[in-house]
């Protein structure tokens, strides 16, 4: 079970709490996690990454295990602690715009 933390506005949109748990098939990567999130919460499609290009939206960041993983290739395996469910994969809105 993968733990994912969502920013406030995506929690309210999906009507969930701060952290959700999802199953990911195969390698645990940014892409496979967001795929699973979008499958389970279709209202979040397009809010984390572009519908077509699959690029992360510019004002969102991906963190895990105290590392900023935002600029890693989206198919790079995430840390083992994320895959094991001991650490959350965090989707964070940039502190910008007042």
């Amino acid at each position: 079970m993968i733990r994912v933390e969502l920013p406030y506005h995506l929690r309210t949109l999906a009507r969930v709490g701060a952290e959700v748990e999802i199953d990911v098939e195969g390698a645990v990567t940014q892409r496979s996690i967001v795929d699973a999130i979008e499958d389970r919460y279709p209202m979040l499609r397009g809010t984390i990454r572009d519908h077509v290009t699959k690029q992360r939206r510019p004002f969102l960041r991906f963190f895990a295990c105290e590392e900023d993983l935002s600029h890693q290739d989206s198919n790079t395996p995430l840390p083992a602690a994320v895959a094991a469910g001991t650490e959350p994969f965090m989707i964070i809105g940039a502190i910008a715009g007042g």
Partner: protein, 371 residues
Amino acid sequence: MSQVRVLVGTRKGAFILTSDGTRDKWEVSGPHFAGWEIYHINGSPADQNRLYASQTSGWFGQVMQRSNDGGQTWEAVGNEFTYDGVPGTHMWYDGTPHPWEFKRVWHLEPSLSDPDTVYAGVEDAALFRTTDGGTSWHELSGLRKHGSGAGWQPGAGGLGLHTIILDPSNPQRIIIAISAAGVFRTDDGGDTWRPANRGLKSKYLPDPNAEVGYCVHNLAMHPSRPDTLFMQLHWNVMRSDDAADSWQLISGNLPSDFGFPVAVNSQEPNTVYVVPIKSDSEHFVPDAKLRVYRNRTGGDEWEALTNGLPQENCYVNVLRDAMAVDLLDPCGVYFGTTGGQVYVSPDGGDHWSAIVHDLPAVLPVEVQTLP
């Protein structure tokens, strides 16, 4: 007795204001979608409990919302707006080509007859339509692929398609406006389009007879006279009596002919309202006085309406989609300000009062008249 439902979008959520036909006492619900910009919220004329809202954010992009119960509950629907084919380029501020990129939905215009069909005007300018209640959206790409599209240039607020007028007497005719490309009309349901800007003047255009390039801010039509249109141009208020084939100046004695919204009285097709703004450099009302101007002949004579509106120390703006009318007699007129007030006049503009005065900055105001 009839009821009125006022749909208000703001920089930080949507609010729904309801009253009976006296339009005296109001109930306020909201914020819906708290913290999100609500660029537009509108109801279906074919099913007044069906509402649609454009919910946007610089962080999270575009979300579309639909309500089937008059705004009590909402569900997110499809938010994928993909341009038809290879989008190509339009012109950027500096005159260089710039790729067409979807940014947000500026305006939602539900079909007059089918609650599942809605037109969406988007930035970068294009017209989309859903026929399945918002689940999927498809571009009417004949507009963007009009030969002039590569030369369209954004206004200061972006290259937005912000006005959609559906002709109640001719389902094949749609008139739209884009900042800063101008007015376009289709007579075949959206397959083909042509510019409809003859008579408009812009001091910013080198060619005085340019076919496109006009910063049209808003259009209004009375449903009983679909060939007559009123326009707030960037500067100038205009009128057309031939479905936008040509335009005549009616700015007359307005203290400033810069402004954003224009509306037509539902009971008097020649009575028009605008809110003059000092200039495109200072986006607030002239002389620190909030004045709606009314024109009872459709010509160029305007009278200031001030009763109940602040006449000193007022520095608000009224944005292009922030004025609307109800269908009651006498006609109710409504507008929202960037200062967070929503004003109502239940008597066609003679007397005004604030329904609410401390909302976030108001973007759109739409009104539904319920049985």
